[in-house]
């Protein structure tokens, strides 16, 4: 993994004029966006703003109709999901997606495995136990490491998935509403975890929970109707009249 970059302003991710349309509906519409290395960025926006679609493009799940996405100088739009993952982008999904029939230990091993081709996986010898133990410690699942992950509580699943993403050792972490369904206490602990991860990862967080956003945010980007609305610190964004219009306006109508 690349550790902290020598120049703090080097851009790890650049997005230009990104458009995604489904049968004429534009989920993203000419989006321009960039991320500095080592940054922790929160993206907010009302429903349908294109937040999840943005992550889908970044992970290769959706091919853009137009535009380009550069990650560490490489164009992501031509790559497949697993290639992007190996390149160093890890994604935590909105609803936890873990392997229900594997236990947390196995879930983590699967993500930790450094050689992800078929034959190295089959024949390679590796000892991942120490790393797994350390990760289990981090995500507070040491005592539940041998039961099927499907039996974990919702919060524990969220944690496990965060653990799996960390295990991939990505340069860019994408976290999609990772505190949804958590108790206040769990949310706070998650916030702390993200803060500590931010020390040596670039992180992009999508969030609805404003209390949580306030806890972790350094810089906030607001999306609206598939395009960038504004960017700035949490306080700046909160007081921006356009943001208020978008959020409250829709609130009034609803």
């Amino acid at each position: 993994m690349l550790t902290a970059a020598p120049i703090a302003t080097r851009q790890i991710l650049q997005i230009q004029d990104l458009t995604v349309s489904f049968d004429g509906f534009k989920a993203l519409n000419g989006l321009n966006f960039s991320l500095d290395e080592g940054e922790l960025r929160v993206v907010i926006g009302p429903n349908g703003a294109g937040k999840t679609t943005l992550l889908d493009v970044l992970t290769g799940k959706v091919r853009p109709t137009k535009g380009c996405v550069l990650f560490k100088g490489k164009d992501l739009t031509k790559l497949k999901e697993h290639q992007i993952s190996v390149l160093g982008i890890g994604r935590k999904f909105q609803t936890p997606r873990i392997y229900q029939n594997l236990n947390p230990r196995e879930n983590l091993e699967l993500s930790l495995n450094p050689h992800k081709e078929v034959f190295p996986t089959l024949f390679g010898r590796r000892d991942l136990r120490d790393k797994v133990d350390a990760l289990l410690e981090t995500i507070h699942l040491v005592h539940k490491d041998r039961i099927p992950a499907g039996l974990l509580s919702h919060g524990e699943k969220q944690w496990l998935e965060i653990g799996m993403v960390i295990a991939q050792d990505p340069d860019l972490l994408l976290l999609d509403e990772c505190v949804a369904g958590m108790t206040d206490k769990e949310t706070e602990a998650t916030g702390e975890l993200i803060q500590s991860l931010a020390k040596n990862h670039t992180i992009l967080v999508i969030e609805h929970d404003m209390v949580f956003v306030r806890q972790i945010a350094r810089k906030v980007t607001v999306l609206h109707q598939g395009a960038l609305l504004c960017e700035g610190s949490f306080e700046e964004v909160k007081n921006d009249p356009r943001v208020i219009e978008v959020y409250l306006g829709s609130h009034k109508r609803g």
Binding site: K61, H82, S85, I98, R126, D133, H143, R146
Partner: protein, 381 residues
């Protein structure tokens, strides 16, 4: 090593697997021991107990259980339901069948060619004079065909029922081809009338017993291979692909390679099964590539329990014995029972016999624990 907290059910009752509390190493030893025991039983006890006819049936069904192991590997563990395993089975059978048909004095070609006025051996028959080539081909030809097909299909992310339907269409392609090519491969009649292998009469009692033992050894080998593939990290990735394939991609794995590899292995196993089956029935024909046969294969695994390898073997042997006995007792209406069996298993025993035994065992274990606890309480009182 770190002390592991054993998981508890809400009532504080340990489940039997933990109740036995074996280390993984001891578990493996236990399994190997049981496997050896079953092998010895099959080789030394069954021949003494069963009539020659039933023993021959058992040998055939054990050969079929090798296909079932392959299906369990791709369906039970990886979630790819192939309805085309009959094709690979038949390819293996044909490979050996061609070798057996060529056990002739020099210069003569198999007799059926004369029916169609063919006087020269078609070119692709020639390599099958060699036993070593045949032995490799039995595994490799089906595996290569499966890799090619699997790659074409899996690469495009065709999965689930679409995969099943495409593999089913494959059976039709191959069936029609083999069925139509009388002049090359004897069409509908298939290859039959085998007499010798290694210059030994394959119908002699000794040779039949040798084939029976060989079949058992191949079942054991196939079991060990599948066990190796399904345990460890590789096996977990297979399960992960079954449960959530897109997620596996985001974990950085390309499922295509994994799926193609297990599909090829399953096909190779089917090929071996086909060869052993052909050796014991004395015929291989395009019928083995018919749609119903491939579906039946899946049913064996479903009956036995698709989440366990043992289940596949048990399922293949039991279902086939049931079919034999039922069709002997009720030749006119046994299809009712076969159809009913399919329905019953899917509706009532979704995890198959092995799954059923497991849940029943767990329930009994819980009842036992409750009873023990009550006993402890009363004695305290």
């Amino acid at each position: 090593m770190k002390v592991l907290h054993s998981p508890h059910t809400p009532d504080g009752i340990t489940t039997p697997a933990q109740g036995l509390d074996l280390s993984p190493r001891n578990k493996l030893l236990l399994e190997a021991g049981v496997l050896m025991g079953v092998l010895l039983l099959l080789i030394f006890v069954f021949p003494a107990v069963l009539s020659g006819f039933r023993l021959n049936l058992l040998g055939r069904f054990l050969a079929l259980s090798i296909v079932a192991l392959g299906i369990d590997l791709i369906w039970g563990y990886t979630g790819m339901l192939s309805l085309g395993q009959g094709v690979f089975f038949a390819l293996g059978g044909y490979a050996l069948g061609m070798h057996l048909s060529l056990q002739l004095p020099d210069g003569r070609i198999p007799e059926f060619f004369s029916l169609y006025g063919v006087t020269e051996l078609p070119w692709f028959w020639r390599p099958f004079y060699s036993f070593s080539f045949t032995a490799i081909a039995i595994f490799l030809i089906p595996a290569l065909v499966a890799s090619a097909l699997g790659y074409l299909v899996v690469r495009n992310r065709i999965r689930g029922v679409y995969f099943s339907i495409l593999t089913q269409a494959t059976t039709i392609i191959f069936f029609n081809f083999f069925n139509g090519q009388q002049r090359l491969i004897n069409g509908t009649n298939g290859l039959t009338s085998f007499t010798t292998l290694f210059d030994l009469n394959i119908n002699s009692a000794e040779m039949r017993f040798a084939i029976y033992v060989a079949t058992i050894l191949f079942v054991a080998l196939a079991y060990v291979l599948c066990r190796y593939l399904t345990s460890g990290l590789f096996g977990r990735i297979l399960v992960a692909i079954r449960d959530d394939e897109p997620r596996v991609r985001f974990s950085g794995y390309d499922p295509t390679g994994f799926k193609v590899l297990v599909f090829a292995v399953a096909a190779g196993l089917a090929g071996i099964a086909g060869a052993l089956f052909t050796l014991q029935t004395g015929i291989i024909s395009p019928n083995a590539m018919s749609v119903p046969f491939s579906i039946e294969m899946v049913i064996w695994v479903a009956v036995g329990g698709r989440s366990s390898l043992i289940g596949a073997v048990i399922g293949a042997v039991l279902v086939n014995f049931a079919k034999s006995l039922l069709s002997e007792s009720f030749p006119e209406i046994w299809l009712f029972f076969q159809g009913g069996l399919f329905l019953l298993v899917v509706m009532v025993l979704p995890d198959g016999l092995v799954g059923w035994v497991r849940t029943q065992g767990r329930q009994l274990w819980i009842i036992f624990q409750l009873w023990r606890r009550r006993l402890a309480k009363t004695s305290l009182a």
